[in-house]
């Protein structure tokens, strides 16, 4: 992260156990102020537990956690005034309307910006006069999203905030987060939707079984992984499989499809050039590719928290 950006979130060697089960096993996370940070991991990897520790709802067993310069457990009230939170599965009191929940949460923060609230109600197409018991999961999610986005919080902790939203509303959410980033606010976005993370996030942390396994910009993460190449040459393709960094080769006489480590791409292209390249398609790895590389053979035994 850039030296000019102080960290909004600094987590180091965080552990959390529930009984004998380990939810967080030395997790590290660093989110710079003003960035949108993707927080990726499968169910049970510890994303929600991490966010609940950041909120001071759970107490860390060990490790250090700093949020906006404070301790989330000891300074919870002061920090909560500076952040907004959207849980992944919003549960509301059934007899209260969505509008009442939004207004209550806003008033607890000290002020209610009616203009911003009304604008968000319109954009998310939510009827605030209905009781929470009549809302679908997506509508309950909208209530929490509108309350968070209507606030002037400098940090938004979003735990799978678009689960239950339809594609149209996901698009509205993306626009809102883009606006939030434009205002210089910080977002920690836990998500399963990789396209969403690719579209919105400056940096990404991938966690697995309570540990951080990758962290960096998407470009940095791509550099660490493989590029898919499809090539057709005039001369016969021989010996490609023996080149270092080449994987999953499917080759014919004059055409081949393979993955190559980013660091070896240059060597492979040099080898191909003298063969008379007729066509070449290079596909950078998607976040999904990176994700599947980490989790394709994952067995989540021992993980208890999402």
């Amino acid at each position: 992260m850039g030296a000019s950006h102080p960290a909004a979130i600094e987590v180091s060697a965080l552990t959390k156990h529930f009984g004998r089960a380990t939810a967080l096993d030395g997790l590290d996370l660093e989110v710079a102020a003003g960035e949108v940070h993707g927080f990726l991991g499968p169910n049970g990897s510890g994303k929600t537990t991490t966010i609940r520790v950041l909120l001071g709802l759970l107490r860390a067993d060990s490790g250090t956690v700093r949020l906006l310069g404070g301790d989330p457990w000891k300074d919870a009230v002061a920090l909560h005034a500076r952040l907004a939170y959207v849980p992944g599965d919003v549960t509301l009191w059934p007899g209260v309307t969505g509008g009442e929940v939004i207004d209550l949460l806003s008033r607890m923060r000290g002020k209610l910006d009616r203009r911003r609230r009304d604008d968000l109600l319109e954009r998310f197409n939510l009827d605030p006069s209905k009781k929470a018991r009549t809302y679908s999961k997506g509508n309950r999610q909208k209530v929490a999203l509108i309350a968070a986005l209507a606030s002037d919080a400098e940090l938004l902790l979003l735990d799978e905030p678009t689960s239950g939203l339809d594609p149209l509303m996901e698009s509205v959410f993306r626009q809102c987060i883009t606006e939030v980033r434009g205002q210089g606010r910080t977002v920690l976005l836990s998500s399963h939707i990789l396209a969403e993370v690719e579209a919105l996030c400056d940096r990404v942390s991938i966690i697995r079984q309570g540990r951080t396994v990758e962290s960096g910009t998407l470009a940095e993460l791509r550099h660490l992984t493989r590029t898919s190449i499809t090539v057709e040459t005039a001369a016969p393709l021989n010996g490609l499989g023996a080149l270092p960094g080449v994987h999953d080769l499917v080759a014919g006489d004059h055409h081949a499809r393979f993955d190559v480590d980013a660091a070896r791409l240059d060597d492979v292209i040099r080898r191909l050039a003298p063969l008379g390249v007729r066509s070449l398609t290079s596909t950078p790895p998607t976040l999904e590719d990176m994700f599947l590389r980490h989790y394709g053979d994952d067995t989540p035994a021992g993980s208890v928290a999402s």
């Binding site: 709802l57 759970l58 919870a76 009230v77 909560h80 849980p87 549960t91 949460l105 607890m108 929490a144």
Partner: protein, 218 residues
């Protein structure tokens, strides 16, 4: 025939009742005092159920959005406890007004002040229930509605069984009912009221302290 008249005419029944701890049933004051003593059980259970509902809101994550606001946990629990206590006192007041109105309608001798003194005489046991519920909220939130009513229901059963079975006095002394006078038949047992109030405060303080230190469930 009135119930107090029935008890006046049936000394054996009244004696058995006295043996089980219900004295003076043959008078209006004695009879309502016995009923008001029983009032501690439903009102004590009310406090446990209210705090149990608060714990349920925590465990099913209805409380999460509120807990993430700039609001201390002490304030959250304090607000719920204050509302619960206010509700319990309202129930005691309503019971007093109801008893006074009922007795007055049939020409009985019970002033509103005496009725209020009688129902609020159950408040120390209700406070013990609230204290026990708070202790459970701090240490074992899923058991609040089971542990909260114990001082009232457990204490009542303990006293009746101990008095009826001739158990040693110290067994009966463990029951809060042993330290609760039959108001308005007689004056309040002020030392008992103060001790029960102090025990309730200790339970509530210990429970609140544990609540502030523990993880939120859910």
């Amino acid at each position: 025939m009135s119930l107090t008249g029935f008890l006046s005419d049936n000394r054996v029944f009244a004696d058995r009742a006295a043996q089980a701890g219900f004295v003076g049933l043959a008078t209006v004051q004695g009879f309502v005092a016995a009923l008001f003593g029983l009032l501690a059980m439903p009102v004590g259970a009310f406090t446990a159920v209210r705090l149990g509902a608060f714990m349920a809101a925590e465990s099913d994550r209805r409380l999460t959005l509120v807990a993430a606001q700039p609001l201390s946990r002490l304030r959250l629990l304090g607000a719920e406890t204050a509302a619960t206590l206010a509700g319990a006192m309202l129930l005691l007041a309503v019971a007093a007004v109801g008893a006074w109105a009922g007795v007055s309608m049939v020409g009985g001798d019970l002033t509103l002040t005496a009725a209020l003194a009688g129902t609020f005489n159950a408040l120390p046991i209700v406070l013990l229930c609230l204290g026990a519920a708070l202790l459970a909220a701090g240490l074992r939130p899923s058991a609040v509605i089971h542990i909260g009513p114990v001082p009232a229901t457990g204490g009542f059963l303990l006293k009746v069984i101990a008095d009826s079975s001739g158990a040693p006095a110290w067994v009966s002394d463990l029951s809060p009912y042993r330290h609760t006078a039959a108001v308005p038949l007689v004056g309040a047992d002020w030392p008992g009221v103060l001790v029960m109030g102090a025990v309730a405060v200790v339970l509530a303080t210990a429970g609140t302290s544990a609540y502030l230190r523990r993880d939120l469930t859910g």
